[in-house]
């Protein structure tokens, strides 16, 4: 079982991460991946992500364990940026390898849906030279509810 769970406060290359996850499973099926990038919506000049370390990384590790328990996967990778980013920077990269395509894709989908609730992240945006905290989100249970009834 390959596992790569990381919080990074510097830039990362999603391709290197996907490649490492793929290498771990070469000749054993396939690798699914989702990579998210910092949006350039509106006039955002920069985004800064802070977190509470004693909660975030253990939360991500628990999430990886839940994905391993639930899906028939041979590798799981969850990498998330912290700190200051600019539009276009990769912010999150989740990859899963499996002998079975559906398990790999579902594990990525599952991990992305749960990452929001597993991680304690606070975001602020730089607009017009001033930092603004991003408002708390509303009740956001619909993504998680998808995984309850199965």
């Amino acid at each position: 079982m390959f596992e790569d769970i990381r919080l990074l406060d510097g830039p990362f290359d999603p391709q290197e991460i996907i490649q490492a996850t793929a290498d771990s499973t070469m000749s054993k099926g396939g690798v699914a991946n989702f990579t998210g990038y910092v949006s350039s919506s509106g006039d955002v000049e920069a985004l800064e992500l802070s977190h509470y370390e004693p909660l975030t990384l253990p939360g991500m590790e628990d999430l990886a364990r839940a994905a391993r328990d639930r899906f028939d996967i041979t590798a799981i990778t969850i990498v998330h940026r912290l700190g200051r980013m600019v539009p276009g920077d990769p912010i999150v990269c989740v990859a899963a390898a499996s002998r079975h395509r559906r398990d790999a894709i579902n594990a990525v989908d599952f991990a992305m849906d749960h990452l929001k609730s597993a991680a304690w992240f606070w975001k602020r945006e730089l607009r017009g030279g001033t930092w603004h905290w991003i408002e708390p989100r509303g009740a956001d249970h619909s993504d998680l509810a998808r995984w309850k009834s199965e």
């Binding site: 802070s50 509470y52 004693p54 909660l55 929001k116 992240f121 975001k123 905290w133």
Partner: protein, 80 residues
């Protein structure tokens, strides 16, 4: 014999500092008294959580922080 109160996210701006050392032990009433009116009001919000020793409290009013504990004040996480 101190407890460290840690201010996260937007609460850090409200507090004007990253953390504050207060005498141990510290319970909910002691916390409310230690953080000032503005932050005390925010702590009343159901969406604001408290972690003690790296664990989020199911009932934040049950806080019982001992010497050396870190009490983290966790505002609602950001959307988007």
């Amino acid at each position: 014999m101190t407890v460290t109160i840690l201010f996260l996210g937007p609460l850090r701006d409200a507090a004007g500092e990253e953390s504050r050392a207060v005498p141990a032990p510290l319970d909910w009433t002691g916390l409310i008294g230690a953080v000032g009116t503005d932050i005390a009001q925010q702590l009343a919000d159901d969406r604001v959580n408290i972690a003690c020793g790296g664990r989020v409290l199911a009932d934040k009013t049950s806080l019982q922080a001992k010497d050396g504990d870190e009490v983290a004040l966790l505002p609602p996480v950001s959307g988007g």
